[in-house]
Symmetry: C2
Subunit: 548 residues, 2 copies
């Protein structure tokens, strides 16, 4: 049996567009001699469709799309995921199509309802295994989560008889290190079920999620035999044939040359894809970035250029009297290095006018936090004015460490359409900047940007360390508290300083309201802010952050 | 058996505080001769605790809180909801406590995972019915959703033998008309199970949700025998005794005098409670409201005064040259009528300064949408500056109709901590204003505010109807599309004009990004924006909104 796993960038809601791509890839796979062509989970409608699934007309459009797709389908079997409505229930289903007919439907059994997943909100679980017979082999059909508990799958599939291959169509979102987890799971599944496992994953960005592709086929021994491209469209083709001892053998026919799993490379690539797809799929061409001469905005600009091309990125620096000559120069240097348009909008006069007007209010103080926030809000308003005038999307520049502790101004530096590094800890921001320069073989991000102690430059002589511990200390605490849900006690036991831990936990808890109004951004860690971490704003529980 | 249903305002995470209130109410109920005192679902930790449930130390704190509560418990049975951790799983449980001992635990069987509910994200479902025997009666223990499908409950409970009363502890969020739905469900449950049903509901505001209390006891015939107060702490007490034919009889001992179910009254009361609890539970005393002299901000100010007292509400008007003398006067009149502090901050000079600075950018236009948004953002920045300076929370004033179609400026009029009327359609805003005046027996909200055609006053002669259909037409379309998930075709069939329907649907779809960054607000309809309606931002599906 020649199997083709066709990973592509399905757009949520674009049923006609998705079918168009599937037709093109099906034709290519047929030409390559495939017997079966598999596409990812819910690829007819894109993943995750969320509450679109509550619309009857959306489910009808899924059915119509599937019927349309079936029309162009010949002898070669096509397997595709779609949202199925049947007798008032909705299923996360897979259709097997041959000779213009839908021959079988399999319904996903295990519906994930943790992390970013809400599948039990929408879908009824299937309860019957399904096997497809092709070229003398028996292919057990599964969808994503179904294979993540191999023992349960083995029990469930037992009544379906012999199997040679498990075919798994997925929409498995990226986080750093996820591919290793998948290989482990698929390997265990292969061994537990005693057969090859062919895994077809979605690729593309959808709001906060990035799907990284990297479809693969694992042999019955658990070894990965071939892998498709990362973060790109691809057709992975292999032959699967009966071998000795009744086990099948997998032979790669067309695969990706070299699928990098370096954590920094994959993080960067995920950010580039996530940015490109959010901007483009939402109908924007160009983006605006406020360049402070600091490291966060520099990284954001570099990613944006890789995502959209230098012609589509505009950098604006908005100095006040608190900005040093060095940072202003660095912002400009960066823009030159990246080859992007660059403009300067000084905010001093607007700031003075605000200060004068607010000065009529008794108690107004132009030396405190309110005055610092005011500067950030003037900048946010400048960028949004240009955004509204010219139709550019503003990219915000806050990282995960700042987002966690609320080291930002709501409606100021958080104002914009997409917060591309909001799930990137500050320590990783540094590593990514070094990667950008190393990869280019030249100083793209000025060395002085990387080496200068970080500052928001909202008052004279300000440094991030005035309010926060060093970033390596901070990031360790945040990993424990945000990603691993540990208590203050546990984090302190692991070696972080008690006073910092308690203070930082308190800051994370108190700033949920800011995060709730911040733009979406790209998930790259196992637990991102957003759908992945649903905390109450009104919350009197103390995880050890004293004084709460 | 004398049964006491004790509804109280449990705060999420405030385990010590919640236990304190429960002790006080338990003592009162004991004094009133109760045999059993029941408290709402998850009242030890507050509802919904959301991802706090992923923290082991939070679950341990629940167990410790329950043990602490048990200590003070004597002969009289106490029933309370808590989050239970057991062998690595988490349950939405109910404990029966007597003589300082936890005598029984029942685990919720039906876990809602639709609308605002994510219970399958956290909880494992229980699978055993539980009966409490008191004073010769058998009480079937249930939690919230368990009784919403009476036939299934009857089957499930059959093996538990005879029952005289179903006790149901709930945390059932308010929407307009919900109490009638509950009465219907509880009545059916009573008839199906052939016994009385005693329902104890939470009261209080938690982020977007308001719990309205109104605990009640329904007789075996399905008739409501007694009801507790709406939107307030209360202990409902009744005697339940064996009657003829083996059925029990319910006699009220202490109940609320008159539980109003008028839709406008309950909407207003929900908004008042939701506002008070969000502001206070988040540690704020005072609120700031931008008063435009329009109907939305007028209603918000009236609600805020009822929620927090006139001393805690500050109205600020921020006129530009586009504001008419009438609206400025009306804003001041309203402030006088409400007895609140009032200030004026003209924005003209800041606006001119922005315009001058942005004028250096080629293509800047001070007559278009960007310039209109700029005015709103200056106002948002003024309010946030005062908020930061003085520690007041800004209440935003957008209604559901505007929020739906994006008739607002992100970071402008949407800037603030809580959007109290964001789930109130504009047509209901009018009715609520008339109610405010009628109830007061005087003109609180100036008649001219109610009668003047609505305008954002961001350019000369602007009217809402320049961009939107009349609000009764708009609200009918929005009800069909947002709340009922209908397609354009279906809404047109019901009588709305085709062109309006298609345009409005397109506007709703395109403005998901704005809603995602807007502050939370109070849910009063069956489907609110927020957790209740989870739509992708990136979405190419057209529900009939042509040209998308």
């Amino acid at each position: 049996m020649r199997l083709a796993l066709a990973q592509f960038n399905a757009s949520v809601g674009d049923i006609a567009g998705n079918i168009g791509v599937m037709r093109r890839l099906y034709a290519r796979a047929v030409e390559a001699g495939a017997d079966v062509v598999a596409f990812p989970e819910l690829c007819i409608c894109g993943y995750p469709p969320e509450d679109l699934l509550y619309k009857r007309h959306f489910l009808e459009a899924n059915a119509a799309g599937l019927a349309e797709l079936a029309k162009g389908c010949g002898e070669v079997v096509l397997v595709a995921g779609f949202a199925e409505m049947s007798e008032g229930a909705c299923y996360n289903s897979l259709a097997v199509i041959k000779n213009s007919q839908i021959e079988q439907i399999y319904r996903k059994v295990k519906l994930p309802n943790y992390s970013v997943f809400d599948e039990q909100r929408y879908f009824t679980a299937g309860d019957k295994p399904a096997v497809l017979e092709v070229a003398g082999l028996r292919v057990l059909l599964t969808i994503c989560e179904d294979v993540w508990d191999p023992k349960k799958l083995a029990n469930f599939a037992d009544c379906a008889g012999k199997r040679d291959v498990v075919l798994n169509i997925s929409a498995s979102p990226f986080f750093v290190g996820k591919q290793a987890v998948r290989k482990d799971v698929l390997g265990k599944c292969a061994k537990e079920l005693g057969c090859a496992v062919a895994y077809c994953n979605l690729f593309g960005g959808q709001d906060e999620l990035v799907f990284d592709g990297r479809s693969m086929v694992v042999g019955a021994t658990g070894k990965v035999e071939c892998v498709a491209k990362a973060f790109d469209e691809d057709i992975l083709i292999c032959d699967i044939a009966p071998g000795k001892d009744g086990w099948v053998e997998v032979t790669a026919v067309a695969q990706a040359d070299d699928v990098c799993e370096d954590e920094i490379v994959e993080t960067y690539d995920a950010l580039v894809l996530g940015t490109r797809d959010y901007v483009r799929k939402n109908g924007f061409d160009k983006v605006l970035i406020g360049l402070s001469g600091g490291i966060d905005s520099s990284l954001v600009a570099a990613i944006a250029v890789d995502a959209l091309g230098e012609r589509n990125v505009i950098g604006i620096t908005m100095p006040s009297k608190f900005n040093s000559a060095e940072t202003i120069t660095d912002a400009e240097k960066l823009a030159v290095n990246l080859g992007i348009d660059f403009g300067t909008i000084p905010i001093g006069e607007v700031l003075d006018e605000f200060d004068e007007t607010l000065g009529f209010i008794q108690g107004w103080n132009n030396e405190g936090v309110a005055f610092e926030n005011l500067q950030a809000r003037i900048r946010g308003t400048m960028l949004m004015s240009l955004s509204n005038q010219f139709g550019y999307m503003v990219l915000t520049t806050g990282n995960k460490s700042e987002t966690a502790v609320g080291y930002s101004t709501l409606y100021g530096d958080t104002a914009g359409g997409f917060a591309i590094i909001k799930d990137v800890p500050k320590t990783v921001v540094y590593t990514l900047c070094e990667y950008v320069n190393a990869r280019a073989g030249r100083e793209v991000i000025p060395e002085s940007v990387i080496s200068r102690p970080p500052s928001a430059e909202l008052r004279e002589g300000q440094a991030d360390t005035d309010s926060l511990p060093d970033y390596d200390v901070l990031d360790a605490i945040l990993k424990g508290y945000v990603e691993d849900d540990k208590s203050a006690e546990e984090i302190i036991e692991e070696g972080s300083p008690g006073e910092d831990v308690r203070r930082i936990i308190r800051m994370v808890d108190r700033n949920e309201y800011k995060r709730r109004q911040s733009p979406p951004g790209i998930k790259i860690t196992p637990k991102a802010f957003g759908r992945d971490r649903r905390m109450p704003i009104t919350n009197r529980f103390s995880s050890g952050g004293n004084g709460k």
